[in-house]
Amino acid sequence: MDEHRSSIELRLPSRLGFEKVAMNTAASVARLMGFADDRVEDLKTAIAEACINAMEHGNKLDETLSVGVILSMKSDSLEVKVLDTGTGPQGHATAPDIDKKMHEEEEPRGMGMFLIESLVDEVEWVSSPPTGSYARMVIRLQAER
């Protein structure tokens, strides 16, 4: 694919449900790039969760604020940046403890970052105040895991 025309950008309102626009766009791109179906599904969940985090925690569901999504195609990978106006996540993803959840010692929610880290090959959360923050994910055609 032409490296000079290898980027797609979206701007989504911070309204839950619109993460599916990014999810379905990324899935179409990944299929065009030749990703296997199971990798496309991994990517869909990771992007959806990153967009939901950006809408809820970054932009506080303020619909006047956009979530940016940049898909950058490389010959062997797809990089996705999800941008919001927040300060970025505090701490890092921890694996959910289902026993604690079932015993109500841990919130049932809060699995998004864990799912993202588990499903893509590379992820980082970058905070760059005052402009905002972004999640950067990379998924490779040939999984390293």
Partner: protein, 119 residues
Amino acid sequence: MQEKVTRVKMEEVQRDGGPITVLRFAGDITSASNAAVLGTYQGIPESIKRILLDFSGVDYLNSSGIALIIQMMIAANKNGQTIQTFGLKPHFQKVFTMVGITKYTKLHPDEASACAAFS
């Protein structure tokens, strides 16, 4: 844009050992699915001890939706009810396994094997 609605149909099926209440979900399960998931569960009498979750018609399930399923499982656990599950697409089977839900409900390939697991 309106979020795709969660549809749920509650049925009772008769099997060896008594009735099983089946919740057949379709559409999306997200943070907007509280009424469909927890509201429907709350309509099941506590006397019902066997609950089957059918996810065959579910297209999109995110972490907020999974949290609602966990909340339903917490309530069922308190009421001494057993939950079996079938119909999840392979990707969501993987996600359920990753978050550990499979410790509290088994994922079955079809309705017959899920019902048989109650016995």
